[in-house]
Symmetry: C2
Amino acid sequence: MAAASKTAFTVWVTGLPASGKRALALEVARLLRARGRAVEVIDSGRLRQTPLGASLGFSRDDRETNVRRHAMAAAMLTRNGVVAVISAVSPYRSTRDAIRAELGEFIEVWASTPPDACKQRDTSGNWARALAGELKGFTGVDAPYQAPTDPSAVANIAEESVEAAAARVLGVIDARGWSVPDATDEDSNRLAEQLQVLGYSD
Amino acid sequence: MAAASKTAFTVWVTGLPASGKRALALEVARLLRARGRAVEVIDSGRLRQTPLGASLGFSRDDRETNVRRHAMAAAMLTRNGVVAVISAVSPYRSTRDAIRAELGEFIEVWASTPPDACKQRDTSGNWARALAGELKGFTGVDAPYQAPTDPSAVANIAEESVEAAAARVLGVIDARGWSVPDATDEDSNRLAEQLQVLGYSD
């Protein structure tokens, strides 16, 4: 049971641009770290600004490569005991299904926030530019988004808080027995609770 | 001391094509795993065959991007407690020095095997093709290799075994206090020794 409580796994958050994927990924990571787990968050938008994402555009091929890179990173992390939390539009169902099959312990989370709410949440102006025709190949406007047919968790950030959604994702992880708190974890939890009471957060 | 004994770090093996980098990286990783450490080996040549390396050529810019990707992966691993062992030609000194500064706990290992020995070791035929002018931009032939000026360890695989060189690299790691065997590690060591006596290896 001690070994089972430390299974590494991937949480893959998919959804439209500005659907709240990144906030959800960060909150799931925060909760897992409070249990003493090593967790890496990889945000697709940010990765594109690094050498890992450089030279990639938004064609179907480039999107595929981008998503595959996230999967490679997740594989590298999880086989070394680190939890990978990925936030990526990852619009194609077939690609996500292939990655799920490769990665093994995998939770697909659909950030289901509706397009109108995404537009309102968007601080980058990309939704507006895409709707005005100034930005081509934008997922949700003129590029397809294929929603998961059987996600492990669904989070509509227009109707619930990021915290509530993240707690539900933790519930899914717990139900699979991948991160059962052990003695050390309980210490971490107690410390995390104390810090929260004191008004600190990590 | 318990915390210090589990410092994550990067071992960066640089050298000419076919200088024995990969074999050395794998042996260093084997020794560290026998101590119970989580270790990821990233081999530049193999990475180029994956989505992470796709679309990269051998121009100076593409080489730079390739090496930067390795550094990003190493950063991601080491900040989560995983040892990164990188095998990459990484021909430019300035790039390696920049990466060393970014990564913190970093050991530069120079696979110093001389060009003639590399040619003999080469099973890919790339050295021969480059020397015949059929392959352009090949490090050691018509593209530069800038040897480290102050490497942490040097390994000439033409003159010593991979095992002897790897043991010396472990000595450097031990001297820095990054992987001091603790009680659990001693158990791992004992197990590893028993397996070796029995003729098994990992």
